[in-house]
Amino acid sequence: MSFSWNIVTDLRAMWQWAFMRNAFEAGGIASIMAGIVGYLVVLRRSAFATHALGHGGFSGAAGAVLFGVNPLYGLLLATSAGGVGMALAGQRATTRDVEIGTILAFMLAVGLIFLSLYQGYASEAYTILFGEILGVSASEVLLMLEVSVGVLVALAFLYRPLLFSSLDPDVAEAKGLPMTALGVAFMLLVAVAISFSVTVVGVLLIFALMVTPAAAAVRLTQRPVYAVTASVLLALASTWLGLTLAWFASSYWPYPENHFPASFFIVTIAFCVYVAVRLGLWVAREWVHPSVPVVSSEVPAVSETG
C-alpha cells in the first residue's frame, strides 16, 4: 500500500498487520526502558560501557546459537557478566575506558570463535547484531513488557541513590551509600535493558536507542525529571517514526524479498534529532538569545579555571 497523506488511513493500513502492531508495542516498550536507563547512563558517563556491553553481549548470543540455546539467554548472560565486571573494575568513569575496552575486545574475540565454529548461516546472529523488530512475536512482546516493568520498579527504588552517586560520588560515599553495590546493580539493569531492546535495533546500534536520545534530552532541560521524560519521548519518537518510515519506504520498494531495515530509520532519526538539538541550541545561544539555555543569574560568570 502506498502513502495517502491521510494519517488515520495510513496508520490503520499499517496497523492491520499483527507484525506491525507487535513492532510498535515492542519498540514502545524498549524505548521507554532505554530512555529512562539512558538518562542515568549519560549522567554516570557510562556511554562507552553501554556501547561495549551491547557489542560484548554478541559473544553470548553467538555462543547460545552454537549450543542451540535461545540467543536471548546467551545475550543476557554475557551482558550481565560484562556489566558486573565493569562495575567492579573501576568506580570512576574517567579511569574505566581502558578496562572496558579490554573486556570488550576479549568478549568480541570469544564471539568470533563461536560464530566461526557454527556450521551454517547464522541468521539469529544477524538478527542480534542489527535487530529484527518486524519479526517480534506477541509472546515476545509480553515478555518484554514484564521485564521492563521489573526494570522500572528497580529503577524507581534506586533512582535517588543512583542519581546522587553519579553526580557527587564522594559525598554519596561519605553519606553511607553502598557505592560498589549501586554500580553493580546499575550495570545489571543496563545489561537487562540492552538484552531486551536488541530486537528493536540490534546490539551494534543499541547506542542510538539508549544513549543518543538521553544525550539530546539533557541538553534540553536541566531538571532530572523533565530530562528523563524528554529522553523517553525522543526515544519513542525515533522508534515509532522510524518504523512508520520503514513501512512506507518498503511499500515503494520494488523487491519484496528484502524490505528496508527498520533499524536504519530508527537510528537515523535518533541521529537527526541529536544533531538538530545541538544545532538548535547552538543557533539559539550564538544568534538569537545569548543566554539560552543558561538561565541568567545575578552572579557574573567570571572566567575561573577549575
Binding site: F157, A174, G176, V218, V299, T305, G306
Partner: protein, 272 residues
C-alpha cells in the same frame, strides 16, 4: 587504645582526638595527634600537599579508621553516613557537559540517600531554596552545574552540604581555584554560617591568609605530625620549626599576611 580524656562525651566538644595515628596502607600518614575542636569553632586545616589533611576528614567521616588512639565526633566514634556532618570534598573540575540544575544537586543533599520512589515536595523545595539563599546563591538554582564558575560551584556544594542542617561542616580546599576576591567572599559566607548557625567548621586550605581574621583555631599537619591551637600560637617560627624538624621562619607583612619560609624543602618557599 583509650588514653586519658575521661570526658569524651563532653557536650562542649565537637571533635576530640587523643594520640591518634593514621596510616594509608602500611605507610603512617601522621601519628601522636592530640587535639580538640569545640562546638561552633571555625578551624583551618593547613599543611603541605600530601601531609594528610584530607585523611583527617576521612577519619571524621568514618571512611577510614585510626590505627591507634581515640577519636570522637560529638562524643561518638565516627561513622559513615553521619547526618550531623556536611561534607564538601575536594573537586578538581566538573565537566562542562553536566547539564543538571544546581537545585537538583541541593535536593540530593536532603534525599539522595533515600531508597524507593519519592517526589520532592514543597518542604524540600523550600529547604533547598533556603540553603541556596544562605550561601548567597539563590539566583543559581536553575543554572546548570557545568556552566558555573569555580566560585559559583563552591557555593552550590556548600548549599548541598548545608541543606541537611548539619552541626559540622568539613570543607576540603574550597578556596583552591578561586581568585583572591572570590576566596575572601566565600570565607565571609562560611564565617557567616559559623557565626549565625553555630556550625562547627573545618576548612582545608593552602593559603591561610584569606581566613586568618575569622579563625578560632589552626590545625597544622606536616612532617607526619599534627599541631593545633590559636593561629598566633601555631603560626610562629618556633612552633613550626618544632613541627617540621627543620628551621622554618614565619614572616608577616604590613597587613598581617603570613608567609612561611622553610618547611620540608629548604629551597622551596611554602606559602601556608
Amino acid at each position: 587504645m583509650q588514653t586519658g580524656a575521661p570526658d569524651l562525651g563532653d557536650p562542649d566538644f565537637a571533635i576530640r582526638a587523643s594520640r591518634v595515628e593514621v596510616a594509608y596502607g602500611k605507610q603512617t600518614v601522621w601519628s601522636d595527634a592530640t587535639f580538640d575542636v569545640r562546638r561552633g569553632e571555625f578551624v583551618a586545616v593547613i599543611g603541605p600537599n600530601g601531609a594528610g589533611k584530607t585523611t583527617l576528614f576521612r577519619l571524621l567521616l568514618g571512611l577510614q579508621r585510626p590505627l591507634t588512639g581515640s577519636l570522637t565526633v560529638f562524643g561518638a566514634t565516627p561513622r559513615r553516613g553521619n547526618d550531623r556532618i556536611g561534607y564538601v570534598p575536594q573537586r578538581h573540575t566538573i565537566d562542562n557537559d553536566t547539564f543538571v540544575a544546581a537545585q537538583a544537586l541541593v535536593h540530593l543533599g536532603i534525599d539522595g540517600t533515600k531508597w524507593g520512589p519519592g517526589f520532592s515536595g514543597r518542604a524540600h523545595r523550600e529547604a533547598s531554596l533556603e540553603a541556596l539563599g544562605a550561601v548567597g546563591a539563590t539566583a543559581l538554582g536553575h543554572k546548570s552545574l557545568g556552566q558555573m564558575s569555580g566560585g559559583e560551584l563552591q557555593r552550590v556544594f556548600l548549599a548541598e552540604a548545608l541543606v541537611g542542617k548539619p552541626d559540622m561542616l568539613l570543607l576540603d580546599e574550597p578556596l583552591s581555584n578561586l581568585d583572591i576576591r572570590r576566596a575572601r567572599e566565600l570565607v565571609e559566607v562560611v564565617h557567616g554560617l559559623v557565626a549565625s548557625r553555630g556550625v562547627t567548621t573545618l576548612l582545608v586550605a593552602h593559603d591561610i591568609n584569606p581566613l586568618i581574621e575569622c579563625l578560632d583555631k589552626v590545625i597544622y599537619i606536616a612532617n607526619g605530625r599534627v599541631a593545633s591551637g590559636l593561629p598566633e600560637t601555631v603560626l610562629t617560627s618556633s612552633s613550626l620549626t618544632e613541627l617540621y624538624g627543620v628551621p622554618v621562619e614565619v614572616l608577616r607583612d604590613s597587613r598581617g599576611n603570613i608567609v612561611i619560609v622553610g618547611g620540608e624543602n629548604p629551597h622551596e618557599k611554602v606559602v601556608a
